[in-house]
Symmetry: C2
Subunit: 470 residues, 2 copies
Amino acid sequence: MSAAPDAHGESEVLGRLRAALGDRVDTTAQSRAAARADKSGHAASGMPLAVVHARSVDDVQQTLRIATATGTPVVTRGAATGLAGGANAGSGEIALSVRAMDRIVEVRPDDLLAVVEPGILNADLNSALAQHGLWWAPDPASRAISTVGGNIATGAGGLLCAKYGVVRDAVLGVDIVLADGRMLRLGHRTVKGVTGLDLTSLVIGSEGTLGVIVGATLKLRRLVPGDVCTIAATFRDVRTAAEASAAVTASGAQPAIMELMDAASLTAVHALLGLDAPTPGAAQLTIQTDGPAAAAEAEAIAAVLRTAGGSVVVSQDREEGERLLAIRRSMHPAMETLGTTLIEDISVPRSALPAMFDEIARVEREHGVVIPTVAHAGDGNLHPNFVFDAQPDAAGIVEAPPHIWAAADDLFRAALRLGGTLTGEHGVGVLKRRWLVDELGEDQWELQRQITRVFDPQGILNPGKVFARG
Amino acid sequence: MSAAPDAHGESEVLGRLRAALGDRVDTTAQSRAAARADKSGHAASGMPLAVVHARSVDDVQQTLRIATATGTPVVTRGAATGLAGGANAGSGEIALSVRAMDRIVEVRPDDLLAVVEPGILNADLNSALAQHGLWWAPDPASRAISTVGGNIATGAGGLLCAKYGVVRDAVLGVDIVLADGRMLRLGHRTVKGVTGLDLTSLVIGSEGTLGVIVGATLKLRRLVPGDVCTIAATFRDVRTAAEASAAVTASGAQPAIMELMDAASLTAVHALLGLDAPTPGAAQLTIQTDGPAAAAEAEAIAAVLRTAGGSVVVSQDREEGERLLAIRRSMHPAMETLGTTLIEDISVPRSALPAMFDEIARVEREHGVVIPTVAHAGDGNLHPNFVFDAQPDAAGIVEAPPHIWAAADDLFRAALRLGGTLTGEHGVGVLKRRWLVDELGEDQWELQRQITRVFDPQGILNPGKVFARG
């Protein structure tokens, strides 16, 4: 998986790192063990030889020059909240953390842009921007604990994407350090700009394979004025709820948020929150509208939902809205009460949502597994949660067993058949590298791998991730 | 400029093309001469050996297989409305026209996407989409005569970009044929998708250097409901108008269109349209708001403009609005009455618009040239028109003389100093390749060139364009 061992021993690499970076080089067993894992449950084999806590671009450049000189793999990490194993560092690798590079360098309300370091948390950035009446739209569910650099490296999504776009729509430029330590400034400070190839977009979602993101110029929005209206609608089953969400999209309405929860998810969350058990089999849509026409849009959407068979509640009260949305936000803790989960991330064209839920039901039946599923129904992105019982290994890491992967494989192929994709917002990392070629085809897979080699001729940046046949 | 002559003579290449493609191979002098030029005024040296009028993906693949086998350069063309010489085909090259591949393959109102062939005109596509209540947002000024494939290949912009985005925001996937004739399907049919590298974005704006675009999956919007309000505001000089436009952006208003015309532009257009001459030195902003809050937004913007010293007219009448906007749309014909023009395309952060107009005035003074300028002020994209007298050559082509290029060079460097870019929406082509390295830096220029070699190892796709030191 990782690059082949070379003539330079680990002690020489460590010696060089310490000489250049002093106490930013962390070789404690605790830090090295923590760097093996992200939030996917998966962990790398063995422990990285060190964690470098970079505090500046120069720290990153020095680390990469040493890595290139010694042929040592480098795994870049932010807050390690990824769900695909993309930032897991293992045996013989340097874990390079940019979490401490967390400054906001510049906020320009007049140009609707901000320049930031990669380690700032998404939520911290948005708190600072709110003082200027601004926000950065990408809102992964992890936004309180994930970094902007990590959001860019994975091409993160979130709840608001159908209306407010994905990360690719919200980044004007990135500064990256290449494998050999050179820094490149990619992109523009302008709204428009077509000089040469769009390498900024190429870096977004490249999962640490092209370079280390050390800065970003972000495209901001003004805070949306007006009210927020929240709609909760219950349906007799998940297929009916999925058809209702497709009907909302087809009606021309544009909710800010449209989340779907199936019966198993709803039951688990109600139990966790101490609410009355939901009607057996029932599924729920939670929808928010915003902006000057929020109330009118909410009424129009409610009418569509009622026609589609929903039992509908509309609230114009922000606190009541947050209470309704809290049910959706409690999904992850609720899943933890059921066992260990593998959180998947397929995406399909919105009209295919009902068919995709049929496929999930089929996979549950045929593989004898339970797959509580929530979906960002406004953009067709589903998170099936494969629940299983497993014992942690010595390092406390739990891996999904083969029968779970067999069910996931079946599900991935179904998503591709429906015109969908393996991963809407989590990335490929380690966990989905086996299936990447199925989606891209051999020719495109090989071409993409060759592009990574232009940035990183030795293949020392995050080897074994994304472009590796696991 | 073009690839070196090789062992395969032109007659052999033509023979192979004719055997494979029959009457789609056009060697008439008229067609070959027309393929030398686009709308920039610039033309390639010599004539291409043939124009291939592709009618299918297979035609494109056959052409490229022959080109690869014989080492013959290929220049892809749509409607040839480019302004940077990017589609000009010269001596020893095959001009590959995809203009006849103009079908709409699929429109999915429920998924807000359309699949099209590259040769369809932007305006024809939008007429067809309007029947479904949909539109494709990119709106280059050339939209009545330019193709969707060309819009994608150049990363075209337009008037509505600040509110509705650029091409990059409106394309989900592209199908390309590589230099060796293999076809790749890049991107997704889904709103979200992060499997592997974002090659779709890489192809957008790549100006024919990576492959031939033979299909595109477009992200659509619903037609905006509600009224359109139009505001015309006159200011004593262009700097005051530019400051007013920056004040509108800074106020948080989001116009659909915000166009700025300087005094020389306004005078020329008024003369062309037979209107009373404008006040000497006066400049104008033409602004449109749309959507449910159009009228309220227009009033708020009008207040900002009055505070900034403008003489303001607001109209809620669509026809009156079109009359006001017609002044801006008459810019190109008005310039043609003044002489020959080199239309430039710099872009700066919006707050730098006033400073950029100061630089334009400086360049006019120091170089003794006249540069009527219009700007998409909502996104900081300026089109300075360098006016000169020149005689056409034997082929009817007029090239800008050296003193005009010296003035343009001064202007480009000023834009870069202000944090801007060489080209906001026209592309690099032939005309700006000299300056590309100034913006990208040597390291990034070389890395980008290497990426083109991954797609096109022999360098037969649009050689001499973009990545050539002219």
